[in-house]
Symmetry: D2
Subunit: 149 residues, 4 copies
């Protein structure tokens, strides 16, 4: 397990706006893409059926601070850190890194708090549930590996 | 029932790209928004449970010809015409109209063919089904009213 | 000038995800749409050339707390409150309201801090500038009217 | 130069809709992403300044036929074929391939016709221009290599 999880993406044309930079909403989409890739790296999925429960992770809170604009075709690294594992929710911090004039600079920092819920297949109703053991054990392992990094 | 169905929308900032115009994918989203508003105008919904069937309308084919760019905050009329009602699918034509130098000009024309399917609630599997009578009668009524317009 | 600014929107099909609810990124898009509609209500635009300056408002920080999911075709009111007008930035708070079992409930609350910048037309480079007087006077007027509401 | 150009992508959560499948508009976004990756593979960019001209490629026409739904986390190959190089435009065909029950199946086929235009930096106005030699020679080379494949 690596002590840090990250993905690298390139800004797409459809993600830019008339100001010539990546529209801020896509930072949030990228955070989620990184979170799901992190779960896959643990052998999990954000859309997982465990026992007779279909588990989901709706967002409770998200935020982002934007420091540098991202431009079309720029390569960006999104880093994920597990910051807290609670009974029924998990908190992640994210950093966006790019290269500017040969130096690595932080373009943005964000956070996500996601609740663990069980879905009703027919109604799509969501009920908060304790994080299933299959998630908790792997997340804690990844988290402690990050702490040692 | 009006002989023609249309909605009016304004180009949003997040819909523009670095070329300063609405990204072409949003023309397709707008067509779908217009189609769903048309269904609501008939007292229907694109996500409808009738009897014990949950009906959906996945796209079989879509296309669009782009004649004029749309810019931020421009007001655009999207017109829908029902072009064909088949046993298990329906075809719509769309026109995008805006005002340029005081004249109405066509910015784009598109088409959508949507299949009628029944959803399995658990697996989300889709099975093609004949268009339910509740849809067919209202669509035909709207369509013939359009033809007379 | 009303003491409070708001818009009403309906959740679109393309805004939902496989969990059957509006994807959280669209709350942020809606906040921006509401902000731009607010500026238009003051006779301004988020993309404004004043004197020889092209002014823009990139986001410095955004956040959102999600309390209730929004579902396809639900009608939602987005309310905007000007919370602070600084020298080179402005802060807005947002509330998302919907009707559930006949009662008005808050589905989400958000905030945006937007910086005032001047764009270079050729390079798209952004330089922070004091909020132009044409913006400041109208925003302060709207803000004080809100305070009295 | 490979005789065929393709990229592989995984369906993201934000790309799904309440029917549990990738929303059709994203097929069009993926076609564009594939087209831009193809241009980069030739040492070009869709946003290129050549001499004193800033060149762009707005869409003239796009279309797509949808054969199989794409689901969350499915891996999909998008293949691009240059179908025609005209004086002021280029036509591409696209195929979407995935694996179903161990077999490769075509999920969708699409096409794009893109016009070559020159941008005015200040007004963003677009004027159709002949495809610059730097594009034409590399595209023709790639196209003939595809034909031999």
């Amino acid at each position: 397990m690596p002590s840090e999880f990250s993905i690298t993406r390139q800004v797409e044309f459809a993600e830019t706006d008339l100001a010539g930079i990546m529209h801020f909403t896509h930072f949030y989409r990228w955070m989620e893409v990184c979170e799901h890739a992190f779960l896959r790296s643990l052998g999990l999925s954000v859309d997982l059926t465990t026992g007779d429960q279909r588990i989901g992770w709706p967002r409770v809170k998200t935020s982002c601070r934007f420091k540098r604009p991202l431009r079309f075709e720029e390569e960006v690294e999104v880093r994920l850190i597990v910051t807290e594992i609670r009974d029924r929710s998990i908190a992640y911090a994210f950093q966006f890194w790019k290269t500017e004039d040969g130096k690595r600079v932080k373009a943005a920092v964000g956070e996500t708090v996601a609740a663990c819920v069980s879905f009703d297949a027919d109604t799509h109703a969501m009920t908060p549930v304790p994080i299933p053991e299959v998630f908790r054990s792997k997340m804690e392992e990844a988290s402690s590996a990050q702490g040692e990094g």
